[in-house]
Symmetry: C2
Subunit: 428 residues, 2 copies
């Protein structure tokens, strides 16, 4: 080992990656730890679930990425961090314990089920590649099951897909399901009439995409309704029982065989030994304007898991890729030259969401636009953000393909064989 | 339902597919049943395991395929056939019971573990897409685990990959692992020296690829040794214990953390009610020259699961895609025009295997060749045999990509999330 200070980064997402790109490898020893051996691309998880893309085409192996010029010398450790010992300055995964001088927590968020009973076990989610694959399998299995089901009630239940949460992910998966109903089911499931398939999107607040402009909310609502998505606003879910019955706080109910949950996120949690950091709502770690975690030494947090309340953002910056990327970059710059360090200020470049083919909404600082050009913009931005030329090429190929064929050939129910899972085996 | 005779086909592999392509849909009602909702491509499973291809790019959704002109009117049922009732002429899956007038069994084969203790649970296999994905995960996990392991014995065990069985699959996966060692590990696992990685291929007989020509066997042996694969002939495995110790019948032992089993196949089995068909070695169903299953009425078998002993093939035709495709076609022709039916005769068009980049062996009826041209031939034949233009394009893209970069970006440890598996959920 060298005498350099050792920085351990937890999480190879947008934040972690932008940090290790920028940090000066001559002054620091960098180790990045992730529970996956690849960098994944959350904005497109919904396209895995809706059979638009191969999971692998939006994932990129970390070790491959670390070969790139900017990353040389960074080492990778595969494993899930369970414990952070702030006294001895170590982190522990299922495989090893690592020492750090400086710790950068960029672990992001996970689903928040608000303690609704059995929800974790019963619903489909989209917070990781694995979850998205499972959601895809669920959707396809429901269709196969319905295709041979004669009992009208059971058919109706199997063919009802409820999406809870009207944020970008909820809107995008609902739109994709709307398209599937329109273009795919009609052609490939002769025993299912598209009218039997119901896609319902329930949002707790008064409008969709409430982090975006009013105009975007309206456009998204209009576009989803065009796709025959049954959008219900001001609906907060109370329960989802064994009989697939969704009950809302206002008493309304829906029988839905598939429930896709995009209604809440909470920070990833760790078992802290020593001084535990102070947390804000949603379990986020409160950080100062230099992303230093309050109440700790040598620990920084960036991205969705960090919460820095600035005048402009009293509740902390929005949990977006843009924020994570900018925080990672700024933190690296500050560590590279501590004497010239600058506080973090979020530069909002705008946000966007897509609602099926030819439809998207884009909010830039002073302008909102939607429709075909917004859709092209959305595709372009996401394509260039993907790691790896091969992935860019495969994703582009898939998009062009499905644009002209109105379908993809990725409607596959696929899992690793059910032999004892690798992870168990290797831990033994 | 129409008054046409109803044909149920079990299995949408090479045999089943070639049958339903050719059978006359005006005279018969066709239903194909498969445990997967896609047609998969076994010859390339080893490339899934060795991270060369996405699983999805060599799989094609049955419902999409059934939209093609030749297939119009064929219906698909997702499910695994457990029981065949020859008295009432029904088959039963986990979801339904179907009546047939004519049954075509094209269910293929599965791994044969020869009752070696715990083998089923302990080894990696390559007989299905799911198994190949699991094998890929295992290989990558071993590398990640070794990258942070300091105990030399455990390192050695984690970095020893044993392939049992020197047929095409065994040769191809061993070659792919040899390349991984040479081109990938050296660059991406700084803490692992390529010399630490051992790839061992053990074959029970005196030569590799014993279904092919002597020349092919010798070329394959030479090429594998060039790739530093430790090939051991006349080695039959006796056991594989909890300490990863492989013991051969001659007393030799190897400690291997990963064992890839390609040494035996046996026919898929069904629970027969009524007259059970007579079976041959490996559980294959004995059929006559018209592929009618001996001792049954209206039941035919084609492909790997069928065994027709002709003078040329006393032990039955080899279990190859070519045989399945030709039998499917001939059976369909015979059912289309019973008055002009012809016995099945296998037309051996030759066989091939590949051993890493630029290396392959090809046996045609009267000519053997190997090397670069054989490799190009191998790629061409496999590419055109894939279903779906998109898949052809993605696979070609991947191959060109890895040819020039000496690596792929598919080294991803990926599984669906561990929530209760879809299949259980849907069966409940």
């Amino acid at each position: 080992m060298s005498s350099k200070q050792r920085i351990v980064v937890i999480g190879a997402g947008f934040g972690g990656l932008s940090f290790i790109k920028k940090i000066d490898k001559r002054n620091f020893d960098i180790t990045v730890v992730d529970r996956n051996n690849y960098h994944s691309f959350p904005p497109l998880f919904y396209q895995i679930a809706s059979c638009g893309l191969e999971p692998m085409s939006i994932s990129f192996p970390m070790r491959r990425e670390l070969r790139s010029k900017k990353m040389r010398g960074v080492s990778f450790c595969y494993g899930e961090v369970s414990c952070i010992d702030t006294l001895n300055r170590t982190i522990t995964t299922e495989y090893q314990t690592l020492h750090y001088d400086i710790l950068v927590i960029a672990a992001g968020t996970t689903n928040n089920f608000f303690d609704i009973e059995n929800l974790r076990q019963r619903v489909c989610t989209l917070k990781s590649t694995s979850q998205a694959i499972r959601t895809r399998n669920e959707i396809l299995l429901k269709l196969e099951r319905a295709a041979i089901e004669h009992d009208p009630d059971l058919r109706r239940r199997l063919l009802t897909f409820a999406v809870i949460g009207g944020g970008p992910t909820g809107v995008e998966i609902a739109g994709a399901l709307g398209e599937m109903k329109r273009y795919v089911i009609a052609r490939e499931y002769p025993s299912i009439s598209p009218d039997e398939v119901r896609v319902i999107l329930a949002e707790g607040s008064g409008r969709l995409l409430h982090t975006m402009s009013e105009a975007s909310s309206e456009d998204a609502l209009r576009d989803l309704r065009k796709l025959m998505v049954d959008v219900r606003l001001n609906k907060t879910m109370r329960s989802y029982d064994e009989n697939d019955l969704i009950t809302f706080t206002d008493g309304d109910t829906i029988e839905a065989g598939t429930l896709i949950w995009t209604a809440g996120i909470t920070a990833e949690t760790f078992n802290f030994k020593g001084s535990a950091p102070s947390q804000t709502s949603g379990g986020r770690l409160s950080v100062d304007e230099y992303n230093k975690v309050a109440g700790t030494e040598g620990i920084y947090a960036i991205g969705d898991i960090a919460c820095h309340s600035a005048p402009a953002w009293p509740k902390g910056c929005p949990q977006l890729a843009q924020v994570a990327i900018q925080q990672g970059k700024r933190l690296a710059e500050n560590l590279n030259s501590p004497d010239r360090r600058r506080p973090f200020v979020y530069n909002d470049k705008g946000s966007m969401a897509t609602i099926g083919r030819n439809r998207a909404v884009v909010d830039l600082r002073h302008v909102h636009f939607s429709g075909w050009f917004a859709w092209i913009t959305w595709m372009y931005i996401h394509l260039i953000s993907l790691l790896g030329m091969r992935n860019k090429a495969v994703v582009l190929l898939n998009w062009i393909w499905s644009y002209f064929t109105f379908s993809s050939s990725l409607r596959l129910i696929m899992r690793p064989s059910s032999n004892p899972s690798s992870s168990n085996k290797i831990r033994s």
